[in-house]
């Protein structure tokens, strides 16, 4: 009963154009599209929303550089790209993505010096983009376009060797989010000892397989 009520709410937050509002106050952002599609696919309730319209809205946020923004016309940003590519992946719609064009935009996020990834051009590298950019590259099968070893080194350089945890960049304060993003990034880079995760869900593959392959 509990989660059926929640699903009704979520479905009610889909707008005419296929977009999703974050709450009753109506803010629209493709991040919400990803959250809805991700959650409902896990709950096997994607039919509660209009998937075609949701996909059409996401595609309307595609930019001329191949990336995606938070709303139509908004600048491409790695976090938004992850959300849009993830939502398209989960709903089987990656054919809408120009993989070569987006792949080049994404692989140019890698900083030559540090090996880290930034979220947009002329910005500083940051460990959280190890997840957003890396997952996106993996989903569109262009991850071989970055230098993985250098990225591993960047993530490891962001560790606080005295107190533990991972920070956004070397010698900055650690926090739980960047520790998670760093470990997830290492897993996607096949770092020994890290459990394999699924790039669209950031959940372990054995969990997503169990969800996807059972009715």
């Amino acid at each position: 009963m509990f989660f059926y009520m929640q699903i009704l709410d979520i479905a009610g937050l889909q707008n005419e154009d296929g977009s999703f509002s974050g709450d009753i106050w109506g803010k629209v952002d493709t991040r919400f599209s990803y959250i809805v599609i991700c959650c409902l696919s896990i709950l096997k309730c994607l039919d509660k929303i209009n998937v075609k319209k949701a996909v059409d809205y996401i595609v309307s946020c595609k930019n001329l550089d191949g990336g995606f923004g938070c709303t139509p016309g908004a600048e491409s940003h790695a976090g938004q790209i992850f959300c849009c590519v993830g939502a398209l992946a989960i709903t089987g719609n990656l054919h809408h993505v120009d993989k070569d064009l987006l792949g080049w935009w994404l692989c140019e996020r890698q900083d030559y010096e540090s090996g880290g990834l930034n979220g947009r051009s002329e910005k500083l590298p940051d460990v959280c983009y190890s997840l957003w950019v890396l997952s996106s590259l993996i989903m569109i099968d262009r991850v071989h376009w970055i230098e993985k070893a250098k990225l591993v080194k960047f993530i490891l350089d962001c560790q606080d060797m005295d107190n533990g945890g991972i920070s956004d960049r070397p010698n900055y304060a650690v926090d739980i989010f960047h520790t998670y993003f760093g470990v997830a990034g290492l897993s996607l880079l096949e770092y020994p000892g890290a459990k394999t995760i699924d790039p669209a869900y950031a959940l372990p593959v054995h969990v997503t397989n169990r969800i996807l392959f059972t009715k």
Partner: protein, 678 residues
């Protein structure tokens, strides 16, 4: 959580921080009480102001304020001054919060909410934006807000374009301004607005973006804009038919499943158990609406009314570059048939961007239907013995060369001049990465525009050399340049009948099947498939391929050799499910099973229709194996393979082999051993 230095804090700092936390928690708790009890007094609202001034990320506080505003508006007289006063206060609080953190989602959204109540002036908002964009010209919240204000106030696209002009002239290193410019310009060009004709505007934009690229070649701000301009120069919006199989003027031989005696080495022979052959249409961009009403068939081959056209590979999507229909023939009814196809007979073929296919194209081919003489043999197919050289003088190959996609109506001159001018400019940036990369792309564009056969292919040597240089100059992106190099290499091979015929052979033992040998070429990418639709055997062994993406269009392919490549999983072979003619597949000595991360699982259309996974006999008997080898199961069960090689992969072994034999019960040869006969 971003950008805080990692310092051990001093005791005074820790005490100050702890005190601040206490204050904040107390504020928050009082605020939550007010919110839950729906208290909207001046005092309560003032408390939320205090909270937001310290922490603009207190999302609930912004929503509380919206409720408070609505409550007050409901209570007061509908006096515009009173309303203004209330809303003005909200704008003041937003501005003060933004000074704390000009990236606060909550603050910007609250301002939008106030504005959508019809408050504040364009002038005010643009002034505010001016302030924030001076602080950070890349602030995407400010840019989004600007687009919101522009839409709300109907400011013209031309005025906004001028704004991007100003921002860029002030500092060209502003990707956000270039992005906005691309959005505005594509809208104005699409509308054919006054003063926005592509043949004039695009060359102007090339000049404009040079400032960004040539001043600081390492700054990415102009790179993607330039690439977009190139796309606008090279690509026409109206969809075109790039190639077909059979092609215009060709002759094909159709027969049943067996062998023909004395089969011709002059024509392509197509054998089918099902008594149908594929008709392939390859467009230059994804189109929808290909059907028996938009594509007409005129022939005496019986039983072909109401032909069903399918997009390959996406059945779910109604658009694709590649469309296939199957024409039936009866092999016991030998005869010669002329077949006339008219593409775009009636309107209805539309690109995914909404442009109509508006130049009907007609092509004619001859189909010779022959009877089968002998039973089909199930001898093992060899990749090394039994091949004859292709007769290069064969007229058949000329007719296999693709349609010229150039059309004088497409306002060709300005495009060619623009490319030529850019090639000259980029010649002056010899040593920079962006210089070489752009030059390589420009030369590829030039090649695509060449119609004179005599000069076709002249640029490829230089293009390949540029990519080699880039692999050395920018080794972090080695694989990107490698893929581009492979694409250019394949374009070169397929650029003329002469170069292509050097790689073509006939396989004697199987009705002289047309075989294309592209092994040992360090290929990491497949390309130019539209020119290879006639290929029946493809040897891609000893290369660096990790996916078969693109091969789905090769509907005639019956034998494929991918041994000694870098295939990591069966999901990477998903496109082969659509190649129904495939009988022989060699994926030995690859990396299947070696890597834990699957980079092709979401490109695999079978993943989401997995409700049928495990519902057939194999699935019911081996649910564990079907889950373990789900991608192999999905690919193999859709094919009718007679011969498969999987040795030399980590996945290979007794368990996998016996699973394969269950999924493909008609398999005759597995890893060189005969299996059928149990």
């Amino acid at each position: 959580m971003h950008g805080r230095p990692r310092n051990a804090s001093k005791p005074e700092e820790e005490a100050a921080s702890a005190a601040k936390a206490v204050q904040l928690r107390s504020l928050q708790s009082q605020f939550m009480t007010n919110h839950h009890d729906k208290i909207y007094t001046n005092e309560a609202i003032e408390l939320s102001t205090k909270l937001l001034e310290i922490n603009p990320e207190a999302y609930t506080a912004w929503n509380y304020r919206k409720l408070a505003v609505e409550d007050r508006l409901a209570r007061i007289e509908p006096d515009p001054n009173l309303v203004s006063a209330i809303l003005d206060e909200e704008l003041r609080v937003v501005e003060s919060a933004l000074r704390q953190n000009f990236k606060s989602y909550g603050a910007w959204h609250h301002r939008k909410w106030v504005l959508s109540k019809g408050h504040s002036s364009v002038g005010n908002e643009l002034r505010l934006l001016e302030k924030f964009q001076k602080l950070d010209s890349r602030n995407f919240h400010a840019w989004n807000y600007r687009r919101f204000v522009v839409e709300l106030t109907n400011r013209s696209e031309q005025d906004e374009l001028q704004y991007t002009d100003d921002m860029i002239n002030n500092n060209f290193s502003n990707y956000s301004a270039w992005h906005n410019r691309s959005v505005l310009l594509s809208s104005l060009l699409a509308q054919n607005a006054d003063g926005f004709m592509p043949n004039i505007k695009i060359p102007e934009e090339y000049d404009f973006v040079h400032s960004a690229i040539f001043t600081e070649p390492d700054d990415q701000s102009g790179w993607f804009y330039h690439l977009w301009l190139l796309d606008q120069t090279l690509n026409v919006e109206t969809p075109l038919l790039t190639s077909s199989w059979p092609s215009h003027g060709s002759s094909i031989i159709l027969s049943g499943a067996g062998c023909l005696s004395g089969s011709s080495s002059m024509f392509t022979t197509f054998c089918s158990e099902s008594g149908s052959f594929p008709l392939i249409l390859y467009f230059d961009q994804a189109v929808g609406g290909v059907s028996s009403s938009t594509v007409t068939i005129d022939s005496e081959l019986k039983g072909n009314e109401g032909l069903v056209w399918e997009p390959i590979p996406n059945k779910n999507s109604q658009v694709s570059c590649v469309w296939v229909a199957r024409l039936k023939y009866v092999s016991s009814d030998p005869c010669e048939y002329k077949v006339k196809i008219r593409v775009g007979n009636s309107p209805g073929i539309v690109s995914s961007r909404g442009y109509n296919f508006n130049a009907p194209y007609e092509f004619v081919f001859t189909a010779h239907v022959h009877d089968t003489v002998e039973d089909s043999q199930e001898g093992i197919v060899s990749w090394t013995d039994g091949f004859d050289i292709w007769d290069a003088k064969s007229k058949d190959l000329n007719s296999l060369v693709t349609l010229d996609r150039l059309n004088a109506e497409m306002d060709f001159k300005w495009r060619q001049e623009a490319i030529d001018s850019e090639v000259e400019c980029f010649g002056i940036l010899p040593d920079s990465k962006i210089g070489k990369l752009t030059l390589a792309r420009l030369l590829m564009a030039r090649e695509a525009m060449v119609s004179d056969d005599a000069v076709k292919g002249v640029h490829y040597e230089e293009i390949l050399q540029l990519y080699n240089d880039l692999m050395a100059l920018d080794s972090s992106h080695y694989q990107y340049y490698k893929d581009e190099h492979s694409k250019a290499f394949l374009h070169k091979v397929t650029s003329s009948s002469e170069s292509l015929s050097r790689h073509l052979l006939r396989y004697r033992d199987m009705n002289n099947l047309v075989c294309l040998r592209l092994n040992n070429l360090s290929l990491s990418r497949i390309a130019s498939v539209e020119k290879l639709l006639f290929v029946q055997m493809l040897d891609l062994s000893h290369n660096e391929l990790h996916s078969t993406e693109g091969l789905e269009a090769m509907q005639l392919l019956s034998c494929l050799n991918l041994s000694h490549n870098r295939i990591r999983s069966f999901s990477a072979l998903d496109s082969l499910r659509h190649v129904k003619q495939l009988k022989v597949l060699d994926v030995s000595h690859n990396h299947i099973g070696k890597h834990s991360v699957d980079t092709t699982r979401y490109l695999c259309s079978s993943l989401l229709s997995n409700s049928e996974l495990g519902q057939d006999d194999v699935g019911k008997q081996n649910p564990g194996l079907v889950t373990k080898y789900w991608d192999a199961y999905c690919v193999l069960r859709d094919l009718n393979l007679k011969q498969l090689d999987i040795a030399g992969n980590e996945i290979a072994g007794e368990e996998f082999s016996s699973f394969v034999l269950q999924v493909v019960p008609k398999l005759v040869w597995l890893d060189g051993q005969k299996k059928l006969g149990n």
